[in-house]
Symmetry: C2
Subunit: 361 residues, 2 copies
DNA sequence: TTGAAAGCGCTAACAC
DNA sequence: GTGTTAGCGCTTTCAA
């Protein structure tokens, strides 16, 4: 490494015996510029030989464009983010941009973190994934000089976002259990202050209401978005109230935690309790029994948010508001007919009909 | 967003009525420069008011230093990478650097991907995580003009690396099963062409040898590093040979795939087959039964590789060669005494003694 | 079609 | 202690 310093454009031009600007034009394949093919070939050959790589800093400084997008992610170990990232990257690459990932720990108390984020002079725009409704973040973004799109939530006072239809997803998951004859259904909710948490709770309740099942506050337990949160909530739920026959978990991680507790308590899944979660990833297949889920288009969220951001950057749009519907139910083995119950004697209601669209795992 | 263009240093200097260089020095807190506190306060106040953020591109161009490190990751969805990244980030931040993550799909056939990687003018150095022994990568790195460290493998012809002692890890995992009385032990191996794959296989064999258990080629099956690979290998293993009583999996993902197949076949874990994997993460706790593992210091790998890279960058070192030992066995519920067998009647041999160091999950 | 020159925002000599 | 100035590598007028 560090053998010879990088060749610069000036080196190439010199070696090829042309002016700087000529070399630049040729290497950038300037349109409407039919360089004499002799010169052209010479420059290209020299560039290759010298292993010339344009200096992104200099180019960016000059053009005020980096052709790079940033994505800030709070929780790399959450299986939803990698998929969003991969989708974003594909969309970025398709339009000639690259994607830089930046891990922003949510516990990061350094308030300048967000200011730095918003000011980043290294990127042309920013995708911001976040779990919390962080007012500092909102403030930083509000004064940002670069376009940005908030992923996976709506942030108070911030216009551009790309979210899932969490209401519909929860409705679909709940309707699935109802169609299987469940009537005593619990909800392991996300953060009840947050966007997805509230929307999913609302969807859960709407599905119950549509089926004429009375609301029971005892059956809603906040679990957050982690494995440990799922464990704690499930344990608490079992302690506090009569056992439900079905569970709608706001996320796979919470569902995994709940399942661990159920196994520890010797509760059969789905024999005694069925469980369905929102979000789908490989991990659903690794659980035992494999977890029935409502699949959300993670890849597509990343991709369409990116396209929106690029439109913002290139002036093709002035705002981005994307809401993606769930893709459907992925039937695995963690849900089944309610024990001894009449499995959906009545014809399913609206939400249940929606849930009918099942995907293969 | 995009309200007013970013304030530049020149704006700040103007507004504060000082020269550019004065503003620069004050804002950079130049040592040995006792700025008159009046000027100083004025400049700082103006900078804050204008929300001045130094342009990283310009600064980097001028100083030829970006105070940014890059990390190239092939497989974001593999649970080992996030932990490595978090460790790297912590170490980078500690020395005043930030970390940019870049996802490099291994399927990426674009050979320029690696050249771009190696040439990156946006970072001061590069951490390269990779699963394959890619000759294109090695070639690109060999001609790189920036320092770099290869993570998690040794690459032929490339000096700087940070790896785990995969041999010791596999030995430890295998010795654990041997200590539980197992003698018919299978290995779900990684990639047998790769560094970790071969080292783990060697460790597995060494432990068997030390216990006087003859080698049986039938019991080694290549599974790679994915869930699906684990499924396929396990299915093949069950089809091809008499059932083992213990399995050493090269990774958690492969172990998860194997466990799924075992469940499907109705094989009791650990009643009929015990399974232990190399690598530890939350996912080990989500599996049923929870997976016994040999924990590798992922966080520390990222951190020490980063420190090494920074030493390279800052000229404090000329090469980096790091090998980290496994942290120990994390006993969970997927391993147990061999059915009906004599549980380690003989006193354990050397490797078994090593395995004795057990960690809490 | 090609060349000369300006300048993106910043730091670091070098003068005062 | 502060100001002036050159120049990092590049793109892009403007002339030739």
């Amino acid at each position: 490494m560090s053998r010879h310093p990088d060749a610069t454009l000036s080196d190439v031009a010199h070696a090829a015996g042309v002016a700087l600007s000529t070399a630049s034009r040729i290497l950038n394949g300037e349109s409407g510029h039919r360089a004499a093919s002799a010169t052209r070939d010479r420059v290209l050959a020299v560039a290759r030989q010298l292993n010339y790589q344009p200096n992104a800093l200099a180019r960016g400084l000059r053009t005020a464009r980096t052709y790079t997008l940033g994505i800030a992610v709070p929780q790399l170990e959450n299986p939803v983010f990698p998929q969003i990232i991969v989708g974003a990257e594909a969309a970025a690459r398709e339009r000639g941009y690259s994607l830089l990932i930046s891990h922003v720990a949510e516990s990061d108390t350094d308030s300048r973190t967000y200011e730095r984020l918003a000011g980043v002079s290294r990127v042309d725009g920013l995708l911001v994934a976040t779990l919390e409704d962080d007012t500092r973040l909102a403030a930083a973004l509000a004064s940002a000089s670069k376009p940005f799109v908030v992923l996976n939530r709506k942030l108070r006072g911030v216009a551009n976002h790309a979210v899932f239809d969490s209401f519909a997803a929860a409705e679909m998951a709940t309707a699935h259990l109802i169609a299987l004859g469940h009537r005593r259904i619990a909800h392991l909710a996300g953060r009840l202050q947050g966007y997805n948490g509230t929307r999913r709770l609302a969807g859960f309740r709407a599905a119950l209401r549509a089926a004429g099942i009375p609301r029971d506050a005892e059956l809603v337990m906040q679990a957050g978005y982690t494995f440990e949160g799922g464990e704690i909530a499930m344990r608490e739920l079992l302690r506090r109230t009569a056992r439900p026959t079905g569970i709608v978990a706001a996320t796979m991680l919470a569902a995994a935690g709940a399942m661990k507790v159920l196994h520890a308590e010797g509760v059969a899944i789905p024999g005694e309790i069925s469980i369905v979660a929102i979000h789908d990833a490989t991990i659903a297949d690794m659980l035992h029994p494999p977890l029935t889920t409502v699949r959300l288009p993670l890849h597509e969220l990343g991709a369409s948010a990116t396209r929106g951001l690029l439109d913002l950057i290139e002036g093709k749009a002035t705002s981005v508001a994307i809401m993606l519907p769930p893709q459907g139910l992925v039937l695995r083995a963690s849900t089944g007919p309610v024990a001894g119950g009449a499995p959906a004697a009545r014809s399913p209601r609206a939400p249940a009909a929606r849930a009918a669209r099942a995907l293969r795992p």
